[in-house]
């Protein structure tokens, strides 16, 4: 870990966003993860994305579970709300928080152990419940905190640092999310911020459950030859299929794309999400065809990246439950805690 504190000094020409903040205002304490960890790049991408969105840091809530990935909310958005929960149980906390206050932007950070092993059940159900949040998995295919055992997302045949191959087939969280009904599913690479930052921005603005699987190499235990989640393997086997570009209302620019290759989606805050297809045969708005494509590519050892599935006009759990738009903290005592007569009334109606 690093002992030198990051100086407060900053570049005098650093850009400020619409609310006058620089990227540095979205930072937090210096990471204690290993030097070169992909997770730190994901944190940097979150910082950059939130800065570009011009949303004040205190309007975010960061939630996480346990693991290297789940430590990272400490390293971005120092002025945001946050809850570091039990292993694999972040979805429960996120669901509760979202029900209590839908006005915050929720960023969940989890890992392959936290979401694909101990928390797989919770992962499935938060998707099913359609909690409006950006759920990021820092996926390195290894249990770094316990010295590098294979995790549930590690590819069959991929080797450990000592050359021992993994015998089990991986759980693909992207396929799972598409299948379980997530309305925004993307995959990216921690070493490609140009792709990752627009995806995070779109995921934060997306109404409904947005999932991003970020392949994030573990420099200590899973960045060797033989690993399928190393910097060099991912760089050589990535196939970007859909480029996402979020255009904010203030800097709307006319971009000309070839007919049929671009899909433009209006986000509810007025910005536009432009999807540019890099592969002709890819249909990002068709759940079945997207799933098929992703799985076929996986068979061939290719890593499909980009915004892989998007459902417009998705609903979220408040819509389904018909719950209050006003956060609990904005409700009067009277509505939060109705008197005994109200209970009586309800009971009466059920008799």
């Amino acid at each position: 870990m690093t002992f030198v504190p990051k100086p407060k000094a900053r570049h005098p020409l650093l850009k400020t966003n619409e609310i006058g903040l620089t990227r540095r205002d979205y930072e937090a304490i210096v990471s204690t993860l290993c030097a070169g960890c992909g997770h730190d790049s994901v944190s940097a991408a979150v910082i950059q994305a939130c800065h570009e969105l011009s949303i004040p840091p205190h309007q975010f809530a960061k939630v996480s579970g346990i693991g290297c990935s789940s430590k990272t909310p400490s390293y971005f958005l120092g002025n945001a709300h946050g809850f570091n929960s039990v292993h694999g149980r972040m979805p429960s906390i996120a669901t509760g928080a979202y029900l209590a206050n839908k006005e915050l932007k929720y960023i969940g950070i989890s890992g392959d152990g936290d979401s694909a092993s101990i928390g797989l059940g919770q992962f499935a159900h938060i998707i099913r419940r359609k909690v409006d949040m950006c759920y990021i998995v820092d996926n390195n295919g290894t249990y770094g905190l316990t010295k590098g055992q294979f995790s549930a997302t590690n590819d069959r045949g991929s080797t450990s640092k000592r050359g021992v191959p993994n015998l089990y087939a991986p759980i693909d969280l992207v396929s799972l999310a598409i299948q379980l009904g997530a309305s925004f599913v993307a995959r990216s690479f921690s070493g490609d911020k140009q792709q990752l930052i627009p995806l995070i921005k779109a995921a934060v603005l997306h109404k409904g459950f947005a999932f991003i699987d970020v392949i994030s190499p573990c420099v200590m235990f899973n960045n060797h030859e033989g690993s399928t989640k190393s910097y060099s393997h991912v760089r050589n086997h990535t196939e970007p299929v859909v480029d996402a570009n979020l255009i904010m209302p203030r800097d709307e620019i006319a971009v000309e794309y070839e007919e049929g290759t671009t899909i433009s989606v209006s986000m509810h805050d007025g910005s536009k999400l432009q999807l540019r297809k890099l592969s002709d045969s890819y249909e990002p708005d068709d759940r079945v065809s997207a799933l098929t494509y992703v799985q076929q590519a996986q068979e061939e050892g290719e890593i499909v990246t980009g915004l892989l599935f998007l459902e417009e006009d998705a609903v979220d759990c408040h819509d389904i439950l018909g719950t209050s738009d006003t956060p609990f903290n904005g409700l009067e005592q009277e509505s939060l805690c109705p008197r005994a007569e109200k209970l009586e009334q309800i009971n009466e109606s059920l008799r």
Binding site: K6, P7, L14, V30, C37
Partner: protein, 593 residues
């Protein structure tokens, strides 16, 4: 862009802005670190080797290093480098064991030094350890030249001056004081093996205006008057005094007048305040003593009555920028008349050598300056070398030290029958990793955000009453430590090794100043705008790597790097390392045993 050649000594030298800006290229961060470690003697010796007069320069240097300091760009105020130099001098211990040994047995070569100012003294210091016999001639009764005759004691106490002058003289210089040199031919007839002319710029400029002749006994040339004060010939000045000129000599004149009993002192300058030649701090100190500085007032006429000076008429102008240059145009307002009983003229100096006969083979240019080779400082007469103000006109003391090192090498090469221009030793750079452990560096990498500390001054009344009271008190050890901590250690370089880089972006993410970018290569102008933060300071280089596996290059803008080492801290493969650059500026001492 082509990959940066970091083994070119100039590349990392330029990154150490202060050292690059210093004419003598003193390794500033190196001695500042020693001050922070309370190793004042070692800090002093680093200075002594490089600039020869640390105690004197720590009080009087023009500080070209300070405006160059990176802190000016990252915040506003530079590290107080000059005053830290003084801290080293004030708190040093016994330096004798560090001094070069002067051999008893001489090498048989005799060198004449003309003038006993800083340039000649520094040449003597460089040559003596190699066994040269040094004869030094000067018209004054002591060594030090203008450092003794022109810098008032309230800025440079006599004991500080004498300590550093005597140190060199006592190394074995045959000093011939009170020796007025009247003929170069006469000197050549003494048949020395080489001559060094370090006679300075001893003639103060005069101004021929109406009334000048009539009032000549009420007008003094600034540097001559200061010299008379320094040697005790002048002990008072009375009535109203006008100091004409805007340089450091003018500031010394007005502050000295203030101490010698002038009824009032006014500085009148032809140019605007901001472009005055005087250093900012000299102006500030003069004003703090209650001396008004009037700008944009060119003198027109000396007013007199019965041979007595009554005052001076000044015009009124204003500066107008035309074609990037300042021009002064009359404002049309009425002239100003200022009463005066005495005028001190401090409008510049010349390196005037009437005593050099023009038929000796020493060529002079159209401005009557000697023609000198810039590298070797050799004149067109092969035996004669120039340095200090007598070479290229009036400059600060630090230039004299810089010239002296060059001239000493030239003289040595010449005496060995080598070519002083083409046989010079090259500059070089060494890079030494500062990594001591996984997260341990041998320098204090942590960035100190504190503001520049102010040097305490002596009580105003006390210092105005006595010309010998030094105004600046200097930093004590505690303040010196605090100020030393502000140094960014720019000599501890960020060194990048392409073949180790896995392009994980950790350095890009951690860099507090957004100096590092991985991007497709492009011509420099394009790259400068394509970086995470634009690189707008064109004088500051871009450090460009060779092409990486993703066919991008690493580009680092050297401009605002804090040298905090976080890129190296966060690098998993040591592709970034913090390495101290030691710039080898050739000096004669490397020839000595």
């Amino acid at each position: 862009m082509q990959p940066t050649d970091i083994h070119n000594p100039n590349y990392f030298h330029k990154v150490v802005d202060c050292q690059w800006a210093c004419p003598a290229h003193t390794p500033v961060p190196e001695y500042i670190r020693l001050i922070a470690q309370e190793r004042y003697t070692e800090a002093y010796m680093i200075n002594w080797e490089s600039n020869v007069f640390p105690g004197i320069l720590g009080r009087t240097c023009d500080r070209p290093c300070e405006p160059a300091c990176r802190r000016v760009r990252t915040e506003e105020k530079p590290v107080a480098i000059c005053r830290l130099k003084r801290v080293a001098a004030d708190h040093k211990g016994d330096i004798t064991r560090y001094l070069p040994k002067v051999p008893k047995k001489k090498n048989g070569k005799r060198i004449a030094l003309l003038g006993a100012g800083p340039a000649s003294l520094a040449v003597a210091r460089d040559l003596l350890p190699l066994g040269y016999t040094i004869d030094m001639f000067d018209r004054d009764p002591g060594g030090g030249g203008m450092m003794r005759s022109q810098i008032p004691a309230f800025r440079l106490p006599k004991d500080v001056l004498e300590e550093e002058v005597d140190l060199i003289v006592n190394m074995g210089v045959n000093a011939r004081y009170n020796y007025e040199i009247t003929s170069m031919k006469e000197m050549l007839d003494m048949d020395y093996d080489a001559y060094f002319v370090g006679t300075g710029a001893p003639r103060g400029r005069d101004l021929d205006l109406p009334g000048r002749k009539e009032v000549s006994k009420h007008i003094s040339i600034g540097i001559d008057w200061l010299s008379n004060v320094a040697f005790g010939h002048t002990t008072s000045i009375s009535g109203r005094v006008i100091v004409m000129g805007g340089g450091n000599t003018a500031m010394d004149c007005c502050r000295t007048s203030n101490r010698l009993g002038a009824e009032s002192v006014t500085v009148v300058v032809r140019s605007a305040f901001d472009v005055m030649k005087a250093s900012d701090w000299e102006k500030e100190d003069a004003m703090a003593e209650g001396i008004p500085i009037l700008n944009n007032r060119p003198p027109k006429e000396f007013v007199h009555e019965n041979g007595k000076l009554k005052g001076v008429v000044f015009g009124r102008v204003k500066p107008v920028e035309a074609d990037g240059r300042l021009k002064y145009v009359p404002t049309g307002e009425a002239d100003v008349y200022i009463e005066a009983n005495h005028i001190l003229m401090a409008i510049g100096q010349e390196n005037h050598c009437p005593w050099i006969e023009r038929d000796l083979g020493i060529e002079f240019d159209k401005w009557d300056c000697p023609v000198i080779d810039e590298d070797s400082l050799q004149s067109t007469h092969e035996k004669i070398f120039f340095g200090g103000d007598s070479a290229f006109g009036p400059e600060n003391i630090i230039w004299a030290s810089a010239h002296a090192h060059k001239a000493a090498i030239s003289i040595h090469l010449f005496c060995q029958g080598k070519d002083p221009k083409h046989d010079r030793p090259p500059e070089a750079v060494n890079l030494i990793s500062q990594k001591m452990g996984l997260h341990e560096w041998s320098y204090d990498a942590e960035h100190d955000p504190s503001q520049r500390h102010i040097v305490p001054h002596a009580d105003l009344k006390r210092s105005l009453d006595n010309i010998k009271v030094e105004v600046e008190l200097g930093f004590d050890e505690d303040l010196g430590f605090k100020e030393a901590q502000r140094c960014l250690n720019c000599d501890v370089q960020t060194v990048f090794t392409e073949k180790l880089c896995i392009e994980c972006d950790a350095c890009v993410d951690i860099c507090p100043m957004d100096c590092i970018t991985f991007t497709p290569n492009a011509p420099e102008a394009e790259l400068r705008t394509a970086l995470t933060a634009p690189a707008e300071t064109l004088e500051q280089d871009l450090y460009v790597s060779d092409t990486l596996p993703t066919s991008r290059v690493m580009v680092k803008d050297e401009d605002l790097c804090l040298h905090c080492g976080l890129c190296a801290e966060r690098c998993p493969t040591n592709a970034w390392d913090m390495q101290k650059s030691i710039i080898h500026i050739p000096q004669l001492s490397s020839y000595a045993e």
